[in-house]
């Protein structure tokens, strides 16, 4: 059936040279060592160096900068008067100071509004209708030099009071 069966038998009679007894001992020693020093064969040693991951550090710094900017923008944002269903505002360009990212836009999407009825806020005699709305705002920064953008989305809750008229 097989033309090569005789040749295969001859080949199987050839015995490979046995490895040295030290090989098993060396493997045993290597397995007992911690993995960091597992360069088992002398000529295969590979030095391990600690490398700074500059990308991670850069991303971390960018995220920290974004959070500081976000806090700054929130503190200086004027109070909103009426709920907006969906709007996109282009923020006026801010003079780039030391930060490389400049604000490029704000998107505000109102996804839920609830009328909470008429109230008399404080000691006012004027009845006001209280409207609570849930929005999702997206702030965007752009680096004019590189074109890189950073976008942060966060949920907000707004309560607005509307004077009741026509009575």
């Amino acid at each position: 059936m097989n033309d090569f069966s005789e040749l295969e038998d001859q080949l199987r009679k050839l015995r490979p040279v046995q490895p040295s007894p030290e090989l098993a001992t060396r493997i045993e020693r290597a397995l007992a060592e911690p993995e960091t020093s597992s360069s088992t064969a002398g000529l295969l040693s590979r030095e391990r160096h600690f490398h700074f991951n500059w990308l991670s550090i850069g991303l971390g710094l960018a995220a920290a900068t974004a959070l500081v900017l976000l806090a700054f923008v929130q503190l200086h944002q004027p109070a909103k008067q009426t709920p907006t269903v969906a709007s996109t505002k282009i923020l006026p360009p801010v003079t780039p100071s030391t930060a490389q990212l400049v604000p490029a836009g704000l998107t505000q999407v109102v996804y839920h509004t609830r009328d909470e009825g008429v109230h008399f806020p404080g000691n006012s005699d004027q009845p006001m209708r209280r409207v609570r709305s849930h929005t999702r705002e997206t702030l965007q920064w752009r680096n004019p030099k590189t074109g890189a953008t950073l976008r942060i989305t966060y949920p907000t809750e707004q309560i607005s009071l509307h004077p009741v008229s026509g009575q």
Binding site: E8, R12, L14, V17, R26, L31, A32, E35, S38, G42
Partner: protein, 163 residues
């Protein structure tokens, strides 16, 4: 079988596989000592990663990868020492235990085989791998492995008129 670095099972596995593994590694190394280094590195790596020892295709692929890695890293030194090695080292450190002239002729014929045929032959004859396992180790199809094996035998037969 799960491999555990502290487990003594590796000794049993290794004692059965070692001669074939070293022979397999010899194809890419200049000496038996280098082949043993390759096998050591590959086996430790394989065992530490808790690969199933029954996955022989992966074990041989690891040996091959470590050997080729060594070959690439050491290529400059290899070129420098190539002449000395071919003249002396190979004859001093044979890969087989040769008993007579016919076996000597067979070993000489094996050395004439192209690398891709010889590695399949070594895995099949002296390591008892299936063509599926060989295909897995070399990242070739089972049929390609079988073809290379047949070509290797045919080439050997051509070099050995007495068979």
């Amino acid at each position: 079988m799960q491999n555990v670095a502290t487990d003594e099972n590796w000794k049993t596995c290794f004692s059965q596989l070692a001669p074939g593994l070293v022979l397999f590694a010899r194809q890419w190394t200049r000496s038996a000592a280098d082949a043993e280094d390759v096998v050591q590195e590959a086996f430790v790596k394989f065992w530490r990663r808790n690969h199933d020892i029954a996955n022989r295709g992966l074990l041989y692929a690891t040996v091959r990868s470590v050997a080729l890695d060594l070959l690439r890293r050491d290529s400059r030194r290899a070129r420098r020492e190539a002449t000395a090695f071919s003249d002396a080292d190979q004859s001093v450190q044979p890969a087989f235990e040769v008993n007579d002239d016919s076996q000597r002729a067979l070993v000489a014929a094996l050395d004439l085989l192209p690398d891709e045929q010889r590695e399949v032959l070594v895995m099949k004859i002296w390591n008892d791998l299936t063509f599926a396992e060989i295909g897995s180790a070399l990242e070739i199809s089972q049929n390609t492995a079988a073809s290379r094996y047949r070509y290797a035998l045919a080439a050997l037969k051509k070099h050995l008129p007495s068979t």
